[in-house]
Amino acid sequence: MQLARPRAAPARAPARPPALLTWRALAPSYALALAATLAVAVFAVSWGTVHIAPLTTLSILIGHLPFVSTGEHSATTDAIIWQVRAPRVLLAGLVGATLAYSGAAYQGVFRNPLAEPYLIGVASGAAVGATLIIISPLFVAAWFISPLPPAAFAGALIAVALAYGLARTAGRVGTASLILSGVAVSSMCTSLVTYLMLTYNTRTLAILTWLLGGFNTASWQKVAISAPYMIAAGVLILPFARLLNVMQLDEDEARQLGVNVERIKLGVLGLASLATAAAVSVSGLIGFVGLIVPHAVRMIWGPDYRRLLPLSACFGASFLILADVVARSIDPGYEVPIGVVTALIGAPFFLYLLRRQNRAAEGRA
């Protein structure tokens, strides 16, 4: 570069202007991702131990829409499709989407690639809530709405609020402090759960089953009580995407660009924690999704949160739906714990992406 005044941009034929990530520009990708996820979901509903033809599946599903009738089906087939598989697939999709976009949000706020939605106490708090119900006489009574999800939900929110409150000094919450207080709260909760599990050892299997997580007991009721949180939070987080990009700079620099860093942290973490609490309360503690899916999406589609958030949601939904298909079909008739499946499918895939990225980096270097 010379010491003289830099010359004006050379007069060439105008190059293609760089693409801007406006909402309109992104809309086609959103639509495509959503369509792909929907296709995965429909496939999943038609797949299972019991062989049901895809056309029959679609016919039954459409038949349940209001004002539509598609003829008679056997009660068993209808029950399997509509009461067992459909809510199961839908719940798996919602939970997968939630864990994934929450994971992306957490990684954005903490600027830490190891962040995931269970970091500041959602999982362990939910475990405390669920355990307290399982060991109490409340668990014995048969209720219309099981008290388990609301208790787990409450436990999760209390734990996060505790972690947040402990980390807050002079109106600011440093991310490092938040991680530390989150770890402290999580440890306390986990010890409590372990202690209760061993003391009330007639309920140990019930507690462990809940912790391990899964969609075997999915029902439309569970979808109804959790979906509003998961969907609303997802929609409300999206507008923060551009600001999350800016927050990747450094908190001080973001502040100097006029970003209200504390408010964004509170808002994004609050929404993500709320959604994750709802997810965990109806499906237990399914690991791996919240950590890995955002990374995979980032590797393929880049770090911009305007793509990362919605694509993580769609990818996470598809991933967990497929994992659930494996969990319920790989050993026909028997249920394999979904945490095992997510690890076995996700880990090799992640290694493959990592190697691909390393090879690309080597090529560049």
Binding site: T49, T76, N201, N216, T217
Partner: protein
């Protein structure tokens, strides 16, 4: 950077195959005869005089020899506790496990130990001359061996897989405690009751066998055919929809499989935990099941059906009467 869909699909299928291979090759349960059956004690009721030393085979294969009638038994097995009371040997008990609840005397037994997280010091302090262990949690068996305390280790999942195995346990405990007469009498009377049930259902053929779903908890855990619970259904000529459990004694079934199997009878062993006949009927989609349509849902006290003790015959009778009321007037 376009994503490689084919590569992802291949990896998914590969992982799936790996998983299937792993699951299906996992230890399948062996044949019907229990491995632990080389004890020469007869179970036909011929009284024998207590003979010491009594050689006993443990589930881990290590030998055990009881030199004389024990005077201070610590029982970490609710099943063994019930048997000991049933054969009148309760005077030898020094402590029972926390979950013992039958008979009442066991429930209110003054000294209790935790069977789930056994505290070796607490057990040693009781100066036992025999410890009965039903599942080796926390390596308690090895620790007791180190301290040279005799351990009667019978792993329920491995060694008590049929009702006959339970009878063997009763006889064994009879020989160990010197109460052979009462033990043999108990086995005889239980055997009689079983025979009665067998006779009443002997004409049921496979083709008309009722399909049964035995529920252990509301997340659809069940008991496979290779368990003493499964033995009940074998005796009753019923088809257990849990099958061989995929190699697992107590597998978790998928809801879809239950609906597809369409059992004619549902037995609830989890009634104590918020599950009722009505709550089962209310489960979405279950109204399509024959058992629900015909009201063939039975609740059974978990402490008699989930415990390998003398009351397993009570469970057998209750289920038999509930399923075939006409045969048991």
């Amino acid at each position: 950077m376009r994503n490689n869909w084919l590569g992802r699909l291949v990896l998914l299928l590969a992982a799936g195959m790996l998983l299937a291979a792993a699951c299906s090759s996992g230890g399948k349960s062996g044949g019907k005869t229990p491995a632990f059956n080389d004890n020469p004690t007869t179970i036909t009721g011929i009284a024998t005089v207590a003979q010491y030393p009594v050689p006993v085979a443990r589930s881990d294969g290590k030998p055990l020899s009881i030199a004389q009638a024990p005077a201070r038994i610590v029982s970490l097995s609710p099943g063994a506790t019930e048997i000991i009371y049933a054969i009148g040997a309760e005077a030898t008990l020094a402590a029972v496990d926390k979950n013992a609840d039958f008979p009442d005397a066991a429930k209110s037994f003054p000294t209790k130990v935790d069977a789930f997280e056994p505290n070796i010091e607490a057990i040693t302090a009781l100066k036992p001359d025999l410890v009965i262990v039903a599942s080796d949690t926390g390596g308690i068996v090895a620790k007791l061996d180190e301290l040279k305390i005799p351990v009667f280790y019978v792993d329920i999942d491995k060694s008590v897989k049929t009702i006959d195995d339970i009878f063997v346990q009763i006889s064994l405990l009879g020989r160990i405690t010197g109460k052979t007469e009462k033990a043999d009498a108990l086995v005889a009377s239980l055997g009689e009751r079983r025979k009665k049930v067998e006779l009443a259902v002997r004409d049921i053929v496979d083709s008309s066998a009722t399909k049964v779903y035995h529920e252990l908890d509301e997340t659809f855990y069940s008991a496979s055919a290779g368990t003493f619970v499964g033995d009940i259904y074998r005796i009753l000529h019923m088809k257990n929809i849990a099958g061989d459990g995929g190699g697992v004694a107590y597998p978790q079934l998928t809801q879809e499989a239950i609906l597809a199997a369409n059992p004619g009878l549902i037995v609830l062993a989890d009634e104590g935990f918020g599950v009722t006949v009505d709550s089962v009927k209310a489960r979405p989609g279950w109204s399509a099941i024959d058992a629900v349509k015909n009201g063939q849902i039975l609740g059974v006290d978990p402490s008699i059906v989930s415990r390998p003790g003398p009351r397993i015959i009570d469970a057998l009778e209750a289920i038999a009467k509930g399923a075939y009321p006409n045969r048991f007037k």
